[in-house]
């Protein structure tokens, strides 16, 4: 368990008198008086930060980690942390034949050619080393393999206790090896010397994230300004920007209406800091959605908009369906997410009825004895809904679906047998594949000459171009962990 004692904390308070000149160009390091000094400063406290930090402190490097939120661990503590590993002990034990080519093929298929091959290979070739390193720090994995969608063999290991357990274990390891961490400390700006080398960061301690602001990065002025010096490197392990509605709507207007299950602090502020010192923005328009329900089951039901009308073929992958849903919401000018409805036959056809049942227990999906209860609950017009359902059934009997659904695949599902089951179908933006471009040693490259910006690294979800069009399930964790280790090794080279 993480212990509060381990967090260096100053006096609390959001007291602020003089406005901070957050955008002032004070990034010339010469005359700065530094308040803290460490070999390496890591910004962020998720799994990429913690793996990198653990590797460094194990090699006697003095590391200071900072996190802007109260919560340690960003999206990493919300994550299940399913973890794709090539030739893990579990794969070998189970006699599963896997190979670099097979794994690469799967990554390329999902990435659709947008993925940088050298990064795909970095993930594949180092995944087992990363998994073994995490185990050596105390992270526990279940004694079974998962065969997940998009993978051609069973290769994903399951983190016991998910991201929460992983991060608290790594944090304990980090602290035990003299690592230091400060939460509620926000990095505002990267400091360079005259030669352009990164020598530190300016931060605000006692910073309190304010979820009520439209844009916390620009509007929140809390905290006390300090300067931290890094002898060797500054590492940005700052995650994605899935909660930054303003920014994601600029890089891709389609993302405006998406819901996000991400941690509240997933904003683009850190990305902008890296761009300011010359990093290359890469594939920022891409998205990755989660759906709250296995999308392969949607074919057994219908999806209706707020007017109780169907608008798509329910048979699709989460990426395609999410795009269609968001486009339709824009078109009919609503912020209300559609509803997915099953009757009792469609519900029973689900590939994992126990899991469906667990959605009901969790309150995510609801069971209705009558159509009018369902309509009332979701504020749908009952007559319109009833007509939509009848039209769907007529289509089934004529073997011709209005939205060209392949009815031979629906296993005799219908839309008239009570009880009915329904839930909101909200595309959840849980991961942003775009970020800054880094080489395979995770050195951030400069847009003016494609050379590494000296002293600056980026790892994990903060980087872009790694996964391409669509990230394969359970492949962020191996990305975060292998990039964290690659970065640590590159820093150690210079010692």
């Amino acid at each position: 368990m993480l212990s509060r004692r381990n967090f260096i904390k100053g006096v609390a308070g959001v007291g602020l008198s003089a406005p901070l000149a957050l955008n002032a160009n004070d990034n010339l390091g010469k005359d700065i008086k530094f308040d803290e000094i460490a070999d390496v400063i890591i910004i962020g406290s998720g799994v990429s930060a913690h793996i990198c930090a653990a590797y460094l402190v194990k090699n006697k490097i003095d590391v200071l980690m900072i996190e802007k939120m109260d919560r340690i661990g960003g999206n990493s503590v919300l994550s299940q942390q399913d973890f794709a590993v090539l030739n893990s002990d579990l794969q070998i034990k189970a006699g599963i034949k896997d190979s670099e080519e097979l794994f690469l093929n799967d990554l390329n298929k999902a990435g659709a050619g947008y993925n940088h091959l050298e990064h795909s290979l970095r993930i594949i070739r180092n995944s087992n080393e990363a998994y073994e390193f995490a185990k050596s720090c105390g992270v526990k994995y279940a004694d079974k393999l998962k065969f997940l969608g998009g993978h051609s063999v069973a290769r994903s290991v399951e983190t016991i206790g998910g991201g929460g357990a992983c991060i608290s274990t790594l944090n304990e390891f980090f602290i035990k090896h003299n690592g230091k961490i400060k939460n509620e400390t926000k990095c505002d700006e990267i400091i360079q010397d005259e030669s352009g080398k990164i020598i530190g960061v300016s931060v605000r301690e006692n910073y309190r994230f304010n979820r009520n602001l439209a844009n916390d990065d620009r509007e929140n002025l809390s905290g006390d300004k300090k300067h931290y010096k890094a002898r060797l490197a500054v590492v940005f392990a700052t995650g994605g920007f899935s909660r930054d509605i303003e920014f994601r709507s600029i890089v891709n207007p389609r993302l405006r209406l998406a819901k996000s299950p991400s941690s509240l602090g997933q904003t683009a502020g850190a990305l902008k800091q890296m761009l300011k010192v010359g990093a290359i923005p890469t594939q920022l328009a891409l998205s990755r959605f989660s759906f709250g329900i296995p999308t392969e089951d949607l074919i057994y039901g219908i999806m209706v908009d707020c007017n109780a009308k169907r608008f798509l073929n329910e048979d699709g992958d989460r990426q395609g369906l999410s795009n269609k849903i968001l486009a339709h919401m824009e078109k009919i000018n609503t912020t209300i997410y559609p509803i997915i409805i099953f009757d009792s036959i469609g519900f029973a056809n689900s590939h994992d009825p126990n899991r469906m049942q667990s959605f009901i227990t969790a309150g995510k999906m609801k069971k209705f004895d009558s159509l009018s209860d369902l309509a009332n609950n979701f504020k749908l017009n009952e007559n319109d809904l009833s007509k939509t359902m009848q039209d769907y059934e007529t289509g089934i009997s004529n073997n011709k679906d209005e939205f060209k659904k392949d009815l031979s695949k629906i296993k005799n599902s219908s839309m008239s047998k009570a009880p009915f089951y329904a839930m909101t179908a909200a595309p959840g933006l849980s991961y942003t594949p775009g970020g800054v471009y880094a080489d395979i040693n995770m050195r951030v490259l400069n847009i003016s000459n494609y050379e590494p910006i000296k002293g600056l690294y980026a790892i994990g979800e903060a980087t872009g171009g790694v996964h391409g069009q669509s990230r394969l399930t359970s492949c962020s964790i191996p990305d975060c962990m292998t990039s964290g280790i690659a970065c640590a090794k590159d820093i150690l080279k210079g010692v």
Binding site: M1, K9, R71, G73, L78, L264, A362, G363
Partner: protein, 114 residues
């Protein structure tokens, strides 16, 4: 009762409605100065968790009280253990905020938070 009213009125009028005190704290006759130690009102700052814990005991104790929620204990969750600050969810002068709700439907297991 009269005293209670007095406190209520005082606290409301002293700083305006913006800094009204929650009913359960009014019940135990809390005054502004019980939490805010600064001499001058205009120096009052947002509190840290230790101020809350000086009455409420330790985070571990608070977590124990909700042990019956098993894996869904907001004071000792699988994501954060007992590491969050009180003010991440609880507010005194404005409505509290259930962070679990940003991803989970908490209605089935949690009351509205104070």
């Amino acid at each position: 009762m009269q005293k209670l009213l007095m406190i209520l009125i005082l606290s409301i009028f002293a700083l305006g409605n913006e800094f009204a005190i929650k009913p359960h704290h009014v019940d135990v006759k809390l005054k502004c100065t019980d939490c805010h130690k600064e001499a001058n009102e205009k120096d009052y700052k947002a509190l840290d968790s230790n101020s809350c814990l000086s009455c409420h005991g330790s985070k571990e104790k608070l977590a124990k009280r909700l042990d019956f929620l098993k894996g869904k204990n907001p004071h000792n969750s699988i994501h954060d253990n007992a590491n969050l600050n009180c003010y991440t969810c609880h507010n005194e002068h404005k409505p509290s905020f259930n962070m679990c709700n940003t991803c989970h439907n908490t209605k089935t297991w949690m009351k509205e938070i104070k």
